[in-house]
């Protein structure tokens, strides 16, 4: 299915891939394209760079979606039939909101929000940024206000983190040892140990020597208060998880044609298939598209010899051509690897290496033409 077809038939496009491949820009370009096609689209980005906001004609993005004014499009002679909204994920704020939503009482709510560990570290909870991104997407999805949502995923160290985020959150609730022996009071003092099962006591002793009792007290206080409310959104996490597998969802793997990046893209592709997620294709950015260049190269170099160039100029041009040839060669060998993974040519979208940076709606619209 081509990207235009995806925009017609799917409701959620997820752009994933390693850092620095142009995911954020691609996601924004997809959003602009959808709006130009007449869709009501929203782009959710994780990138804190203000540049994306600026390139969309906004001063800043916030945790709530903002519409890109028609006037901004008009400045570049664009008149979208649809609408475009954009928002930037604020992990901490989204997390806070979840806690507020699922807290059974003000007491629990405050216990978590005011916990030192929570305040300092909530965005370091493994997978929390990834999870929050999906939580936010789910919220928008449920609203049914939009024809199309485009998600720019966080730059994870491990491709897995992102895919496993909902599952991890579910485990944290259902499987955690919190459930069977971390009850309020146990960490209130060492005397509490006496009432514990032998096994659990052993565990606590180990924890004490490893981390110290006071730290555990803080930690357990935080986890106990969160655990209560985590139960509440366990169901939600399951729904988020099934949204990823929904036939109306499409995973687009963004990459560049560099060898290290491509090997990560291939690994990511394996994982998408392993998790049974709806893979829709690769988007390869910054490809040196110049058909026939390598074939012509010897002729070009020969022609230079008989040209009017002086020695220095000939040397300069020769070097440029050889360097460029290496880039084309590198791109082709990496594209070959990607081609082996796709079912048809629609699943491999090439975006040429643009000569200038994309920094406004016109640039994004231009980029969208290749998508």
């Amino acid at each position: 299915m081509s990207i235009e077809d995806l925009m017609e038939r799917r409701r959620l496009l997820i752009c994933c891939g390693s850092g620095g491949v142009g995911k954020t820009t691609t996601a924004a370009a997809l959003g602009v394209k959808a709006a130009l096609m007449g869709k009501k689209a929203a782009v959710l980005t994780i990138d804190p760079a203000r540049r994306l906001a600026n390139s969309l004609g906004l001063k800043a993005l916030s945790n709530e979606e903002r519409r890109i004014p028609e006037g901004e499009f008009a400045k570049f002679g664009l008149s979208p039939k649809g609408e475009l909204f954009a928002l930037m994920l604020d992990t901490k704020r989204t997390f806070d909101k979840i806690i507020e939503r699922y807290s059974t009482s003000d007491e629990t709510k405050n216990a978590v929000l005011q916990n030192t560990l929570y305040q300092h570290l909530s965005n370091m909870i493994a997978g929390s940024q990834e999870y929050m991104a999906m939580e936010k997407v789910y919220e928008l999805y449920q609203k049914q206000d939009y024809d199309l949502l485009v998600l720019d995923t966080p730059p994870t160290q491990h491709a897995l983190d992102f895919l496993e985020a909902p599952q991890k959150m579910i485990h944290a609730v259902t499987d955690s040892m919190l459930k069977w022996f971390l009850k309020p009071g146990i960490f209130m003092g060492r005397t509490g140990l006496r009432f514990l099962q032998k096994g659990a006591r052993k565990i606590l002793k180990v924890f004490d020597s490893v981390a110290g009792f006071d730290f555990l007290q803080d930690l357990s206080a935080m986890l106990i208060s969160t655990a209560g409310l985590l139960e509440g959104f366990k169901e939600r996490a399951q729904e988020v998880s099934s949204l990823l597998k929904d036939p109306k969802t499409a995973f687009l793997l963004v990459t560049s044609p560099q060898s290290m990046v491509v090997s990560e893209a291939l690994y990511f592709h394996d994982k998408i298939l392993e998790f049974d997620l709806p893979f829709a294709g690769f988007i390869v950015n910054r490809v040196h598209i110049n058909s026939g260049f390598l074939k012509y190269l010897p002729t070009m170099l020969k022609a230079l010899q008989s040209s009017a160039l002086n020695e220095k100029q000939r040397e300069g041009v020769t070097r440029i051509l050889k360097s460029y040839g290496t880039l084309v060669e590198q791109d082709q060998s990496q594209l070959k690897l990607l081609k082996e993974r796709v079912e048809n040519k629609n699943q491999l979208t090439l975006v040429p290496n643009l000569e200038s940076d994309v920094h406004d709606l016109a640039g994004l619209a231009e980029l969208g033409k290749y998508l």
């Binding site: 260049f293 440029i320 000569e355």
Partner: protein, 328 residues
Amino acid sequence: MTLGDLLNHKLLVVSGKGGVGKTSVASCLGLIASRHGKKTLIAEVNAAERISELFGVPPIGYQETQLAQNLYAINVDPRSAFEEYVVEQIHSKRLFSLVFENRFVRAFLDATPGLNELLEIGKIWSLSERDRDEEGNPKYDLVIIDAPATGHGLALLNVPRVVTHAVRVGPLKTKAEAIMKLIQDSKKTLLLIVTLAEEMPVNEALEMIQSAKTTVGVKTGPVFMNALYPPRLSETEGKEVRSKLKNFEEEDWYPSFDHAVMAYQKKFMLQNFYLNKLKLGLGRQDIVELPYIFRPHYDRNAIEQLAESLQAAFLEQPQYLEKKRRRR
């Protein structure tokens, strides 16, 4: 800063935006340091291993593995670091398995914020500050972290500081304080930011320098501007070349040729714009300019070539030249 000054540190942390070449720069510095006779360890952090691929060796994992004379590598993953730390504290592998190798405890640990980062940086601290060789000397002269990208990279350096604030007493606090001391010791530790001559990487580099200073308290060394296209033709020469080659315009290869030359020249001009932007943003801080390595395969040979350029780039720095002049 001379290359010698740089390599005299104990811990170099290499970070920057995704895709800028952190692993390449960390590998180059490792090669150079080891050839200067320093026993050097390159530590990847919880990463899809790249060093082993670059050096053409089997996956390394959580084992200090020799890559070349004086050069070692390890991939620090938080799970192995956790096991090692706990077994060391309780002196029992059996008890560790009993307590920690079940999914209930695992899920609890996964839900503990910052734990992974603390374990990773804790292991690095041990490798750099504590571990000794058979003769009782520090095991490594230099540890180079191939750190995660900007945000995660800063989190890694910042977590000990946060823990010292969030935890009141206990072994965890003591350990976190020791790690923080190492990170904030400007004689020992240096953050090296790698960037590209493009909008976003340059902005991120400048922002990272600010956060490193104000939040983490780690000293930043020279900034590595990677993958620069070397100058081939000046703008006027470029124009002259085009007019001199006008007679080829009808040839079938000409559009392909013209596209290539224009692409190169435009990229070159654009990169100068961003190089200047970085220079303005950095003020007096040094920039080390590294060339794009034009090779169809990015492997050990490419790293060797980049390492040569890196050494040459340091020799071209104004301060270094000044010192040399003064010595004369």
